[in-house]
């Protein structure tokens, strides 16, 4: 700390003024009572901030930001059958939502068909059930795929789901070059945090790179991977860890694609990101700003990218599910509004606001509408969209941005020293760091050092229940029956041939996407293709580190 500030604090800041023994962010990063120009000793505007839309993009990736175009309002949705979710999609679009985002059920995400024994009790529960091309067709019925961008949250089975999406676009007569959207496809963060996997890290990475390569050539408007910190944060990481591990994952993908011989500027402009946005307002805004600056430097200095679009970190944001409480659920509306405001002040390109009832169930129509309206109120009533990066120059925001960049870079260096992100994952390094932070937070919560209103402070007993969405229990039976029927109706010889072609590509080094697209058109299912992956690539099991 600088001299003048230290002197002022010693002379004028009352010793017994503080209400609390220490002040720290939700990530437990200790903060100072006040920030002054002296907290930014080496700061240079042109080098560290730059104008909006200019390197290093601290102030945003576009010159006009929300004056030119608002962020995409994209509520994550999916439950029950494909028809149920299609109806929700259309409801959201009718309410002014500007993009779609698909939640798949656990069997789809883990590579099991609805009629598999492991799917029992899970079909359509946590998202929409998609086992075959016909399901995807129903999911996207009547959606103008050339106009609406669609995001799909799916990872170890992403290659299969993308193949289905491309096949449906073909049936709709929409050229692939017109398709805009994102498939999450971030396997590193699966091993680190979300933990949906089929095969070990190395072959999983190969499939991701196949998709990046294929999309760079065939679907120029599609994001083949969304490098995600969201789940890392939900698993209990700090904001700095979220930032660091996400960018380390990004480095891993870029390096692997370059190692395959791809020109960095041929695919990097279509890499996208996905961050959490938690309660700690200043820390979150700083995180988004630090993320852009750090990524721009990494892409330019480490990978020699030249295309400005390769340097821009464009991101989706989602408010923090783990910050919400089952107790007094209406309070969640307020939490979400504040978090959403932080994402907007942080410069996000796309946003999902959680619904107040998500600690109880998937969101009801009423709850999701309030969540969407929250974004619309921020966009059209608060005025924060009128000025680009309005908090730049705040001593606190800039000091926190610098500090998050520095601390995240220290983690990235550590991962480099371990031999890169694949090795770090195999060693369990990020996993253990996150578990440690999660446990630390829980202890602080239990001691009430960290407060959750209505949960460990201001508690009210006997809260009236709120209406929640119930999934029709018949969905599972109907969906598994439908899958069984459709399997019987296929041309068995074609299915066998198509799966053999996928197996051949998986064993060799040719790109998996063309045989996958052919296979889903022949009626091969998510489960059947995943079985080929299990057979060729092997099965990964949870190391169950505590």
């Amino acid at each position: 700390m600088s001299t003048a500030k230290r002197e002022w604090l010693a002379a004028r800041y009352p010793k017994d003024a503080d209400r609390l023994p220490r002040y720290s962010t939700v990530s437990d990063m200790e903060v100072e009572p006040v920030y002054t120009p002296e907290d930014l000793p080496d700061s240079r505007y042109e080098r560290d901030l730059g104008q909006p839309g200019e390197y290093p993009y601290t102030r945003g990736v576009y010159p006009s930001m929300y004056r030119g175009r608002l962020w995409t309002m994209r509520q994550f949705a999916g439950f029950g059958s494909a028809a149920d979710t299609n109806e929700r999609f259309k409801f959201l679009l009718a309410q002014g939502q500007t993009g779609l985002s698909t939640a798949f059920d656990m069997p789809t995400l883990m590579g099991y068909d609805a009629d598999h024994p492991r799917a029992l009790g899970e079909v359509g529960r946590e998202g929409v059930a998609v086992s075959m091309l016909d399901d995807m067709e129903e999911l996207l019925a009547g959606i103008p795929l050339a106009d609406v961008t669609v995001s799909m949250t799916v990872n170890c089975t992403a290659s299969i789901v993308l193949a289905m999406y491309l096949a449906v676009a073909e049936r709709h007569g929409v050229p692939w070059t017109k398709l805009g959207g994102t498939i999450q496809n971030d396997m590193f963060k699966e091993f680190i945090a979300q933990k949906e996997w089929i095969s070990p890290p190395e072959p999983s990475l190969r499939v991701v790179i196949d998709m990046i390569e294929f999309c760079a050539q065939e679907t120029p408007r599609w994001h083949a991977v969304s490098i995600s910190g969201y789940h890392i944060r939900e698993a209990g990481s700090t904001a700095v860890q979220e930032l660091a591990f996400t960018l380390a994952d990004g480095i891993g993908y870029v390096q692997a694609a370059v190692d395959r011989g791809l020109d960095v500027d041929s695919f990097a402009p279509r890499l996208s990101f996905f961050f959490n946005v938690h309660n700690d307002f200043l820390e979150e805004i700083a995180k988004y700003r630090a993320a852009r600056r750090l990524w721009a430097k990494i892409m330019r200095e480490r990978f020699g990218a030249r295309n400005p679009r390769s340097l821009m970190l464009r991101t989706h944001a989602q408010t923090a599910g783990c910050s919400l409480a089952a107790q007094q659920p209406l309070n969640n509306v307020v939490r979400v509004a504040i978090q959403a405001l932080a994402a907007v002040l942080g410069g996000t390109q796309s946003l999902h606001t959680n619904s107040m009832d998500e600690t109880l169930a998937l969101p009801s129509e009423q709850a999701v509408l309030v969540a969407l309206r929250t974004q619309q109120i921020i966009a059209e009533e608060t005025g924060v969209t009128n000025v680009v990066d309005p908090l730049a120059g705040s001593y606190a925001i800039e000091a926190l941005t610098d500090r998050m960049e520095r601390e995240a870079m220290a983690y990235i260096t550590k991962i480099d020293e371990l031999g890169g992100i694949v090795r770090a994952i195999e060693l369990g390094y990020p996993q253990k760091e996150i578990a440690e932070a999660a446990y630390r937070f829980q202890q602080q919560f239990d001691r009430r050092d960290k407060v959750m209103v209505g949960v460990n402070k201001y508690v009210q007993e006997d809260q009236p229940p709120i209406e929640i969405l119930r999934i029709n229990p018949d969905v599972e039976r109907q969906q598994s029956e439908r899958v069984r029927q459709r399997k019987r109706a296929r041309d068995a010889a074609r299915v066998r041939g198509a799966l053999a072609a996928v197996r051949e590509a998986a064993k060799g080094t040719t790109n998996l996407m063309p045989p996958l697209i052919a296979a889903v058109k022949d009626g091969c299912t998510v489960g059947e293709i995943s079985d080929v992956y299990r057979e060729v690539f092997g099965v990964y099991r949870d190391p169950a580190w505590l």
């Binding site: 995400l109 933990k195 919560f445 949960v455």
Partner: protein
């Protein structure tokens, strides 16, 4: 036998990967002096019942955030009975609506903890309600 530490299986059934809660509880129970076995993710009811028998546990804590609780809890209760260990105390946590908690308790789940529960509350409950078998 009376003084031996309680043996508790913390299990994560189902296909989802939400293991933050399970790991925190496993660690908190261990730090509180219990013997804890953690199954890791993606366990079937059969795998959990088998581990409970093999490890001779006094209680099982199940963490479910996938919405499959009404299928998975009853399946595990049934399998424990079939294996002659129906007296193992079953408790759980996750995203579970209140009506479902009531129904699960009727079917033999001893206690359910929802988001916001403190580890101390869970430890205290285990001390009061689980005894060496």
């Amino acid at each position: 036998m009376a003084d031996r530490p309680l043996r508790i299986l913390v299990a994560k059934p189902g296909l989802d990967g939400h293991d933050r809660g399970a790991k925190i509880i496993a660690r908190a129970l261990r730090d509180a002096g219990f013997e804890v076995i953690y199954t890791g993710l993606h366990q079937t009811p059969e795998m959990i019942a088998e581990t409970a028998v093999q490890e001779d546990v006094d209680a099982i804590g199940l963490s479910i955030l996938s919405g499959a609780h009404m299928t998975l809890f009853p399946a595990i209760i049934e399998l424990l009975k079939q294996r002659g260990v129906g007296d193992v105390v079953l408790f759980g946590g996750g995203i579970i609506p209140p009506e479902d908690i009531a129904e699960l308790k009727r079917r033999g789940v001893s206690e359910m903890f929802t988001p916001g529960a403190t580890t101390d509350a869970i430890i205290d409950w285990v001390r009061a309600n689980v005894h060496p078998r």
